[in-house]
């Protein structure tokens, strides 16, 4: 299968009401081209799963500013004032999740696990309404797996088989989200032919990737 499609073809797959994961940490490693195309297409009622809500003009923040989201599952919203405003006004549901828990929920969703047990959040608001599990006398929170309809990744070097390497700190949530969605799309900063990435240095295996778009 040829995985390479245009950004327009990619975002045409995302329907109103979809749940979409975005890689990136404060927009570092987020597929900006796909975000811009989703803003242009003005898809509505999105549920977004992302480490943070980006900035008003960078990363997933642009989708929030354009009022395309109804729910956000994230660890941090402090750098995008519009997220806080919409949350306070009751326009956007925000589920604040500890960062390490969020990535493990996604990993569980992608790795075939029924959830994860963590000490993080015990005794805090995060634990409210959640099941606890006693493992040999230690109490853990049960955090359930997270999956999405789409995962949108930002890759630094991507070959046409979908194998990905990342520069600097741009990996963050990308590599884990690659496993946890029905349709996985990577935006390649640099697109390479098959064989041009040494198999020894591949970070995200191409078998997880359905479509490749070029920045």
């Amino acid at each position: 299968m040829d995985k390479l499609i245009s950004i327009e073809q990619a975002v045409a797959k995302v329907q109103n009401g979809a749940t979409v994961m975005f890689g990136g940490f404060m927009a570092n490693g987020t597929a900006e081209g796909v975000v811009d195309a989703l803003v242009a297409r003005n898809v509505q009622n999105l549920t977004i799963i992302c480490n943070d809500s980006g900035y008003i003009d960078r990363g997933v923040g642009k989708l929030i500013v354009n009022k395309q989201c109804v729910k956000l599952i994230t660890s941090h919203i402090g750098l995008n004032k519009e997220t806080g405003r919409q949350m306070t006004a009751g326009e956007l549901e925000v589920v604040l999740t500890p960062q390490g828990t969020l990535v493990e929920q996604i990993r569980a969703g992608g790795y075939g696990l029924g959830g994860v047990l963590t000490r993080t959040g015990i005794g805090t608001l995060v634990a409210e309404g959640k099941q606890t599990v006693d493992v040999d006398g230690v109490i853990y929170l049960l955090e359930k797996p997270l999956r999405a309809d789409f995962a949108i990744l930002g890759g630094s070097k991507v070959d046409k088989a979908g194998n990905i390497t990342y520069k600097g700190s741009t990996n963050n949530f990308n590599n884990i989200m690659a496993t946890a969605a029905d349709v996985v799309i990577v935006e390649a900063e640099e697109l390479l032919e098959i064989g041009e990435i040494d198999p020894n240095v591949v970070i995200t295996p191409g078998i997880f990737i359905d479509y490749i778009v070029q920045k």
């Binding site: 940490f25 404060m26 927009a27 570092n28 480490n51 943070d52 994230t74 660890s75 941090h76 919203i77 402090g78 750098l79 806080g84 949350m87 306070t88 604040l96 500890p98 960062q99 390490g100 828990t101 990535v103 493990e104 990993r107 963590t118 000490r119 993080t120 959040g121 015990i122 005794g123 805090t124 608001l125 995060v126 630094s156 990342y166 520069k167 600097g168 700190s169 741009t170 990996n171 963050n172 949530f173 990308n174 590599n175 884990i176 970070i203």
Partner: protein, 218 residues
């Protein structure tokens, strides 16, 4: 001391707690300054929870790599020997007890070592980011902050803001002194000679044990 000098003073004292070859995670704001005062002869591996160890200083303009940011979103560098990884590995390092020390700011800390530093309901809700994982996973937790919020006590009998973690704090370092959290409460173990014990107690809602108070190292 003005605010800037006070933050450096606190950061300098925190830096004396750094151990050779340890893995350390610094929170944003005041704690970030600790990296400027690493004692001579000590090598510390700073972790950035967005996905690397070997966090280096702010780059000169000509050395900027837009692909490398710290957990506060600022452009930074990675030192030789450092390495990048995904967020699952990063939080495996944190929750798994591979971080020797974390230094965080706080809105409130209390006599049981509880800490609140991620939200003021209805006012300020930035979110917890990685703080809850760091507090539950790091081997040692130091809170580095100004002793009061413009005169209002932050070191309390009991936190009244939503907690970030329960019984997590080991040491509180402020411009007034160093407070150790023990099972029987808070012990003032060092005092800045510019203050009296009575002044420190007055600025602290929780009762301080002052049986063994030394002069604050600087």
């Amino acid at each position: 001391m003005d605010k800037d000098q006070m933050q450096d003073f606190i950061a300098k004292r925190v830096a004396k707690e750094l151990c050779h070859n340890s893995v350390v995670n610094l929170g944003i704001g005041l704690p970030t300054r600790v990296a400027n005062f690493v004692p001579e002869g000590i090598t510390v591996h700073f972790q950035s929870e967005n996905g690397f160890v070997g966090l280096g200083p702010t780059p000169a303009p000509e050395d900027i790599d837009p692909n490398i940011i710290n957990a506060g979103g600022q452009l930074v560098t990675i030192l030789p020997g450092g390495m990048f990884f995904d967020s699952a590995t990063s939080f495996g390092i944190i929750r798994g007890g591979h971080v020797d020390l974390t230094v965080l700011g706080a809105l409130q800390v209390d006599a049981k070592g509880n800490i609140a530093n991620y939200m003021i309901p209805g006012k300020l809700v930035p979110g917890m980011g990685g703080a809850m994982d760091l507090l539950s996973g790091a081997k040692k937790v130091i809170v580095a902050m100004e002793h009061t919020a413009k005169g209002v006590a932050k070191i309390l009998k009991e936190c009244n803001l939503p907690l970030t973690a329960v019984s997590a704090v080991n040491l509180i370092i402020t411009e007034m002194g160093v407070i150790e959290v023990k099972s029987d409460g808070l012990h003032l173990i060092e005092i800045n000679p510019e203050y009296t014990i009575a002044q420190v107690q007055e600025a602290t809602e929780a009762q301080l044990n002052t049986d063994n108070v030394a002069e604050m190292k600087s």
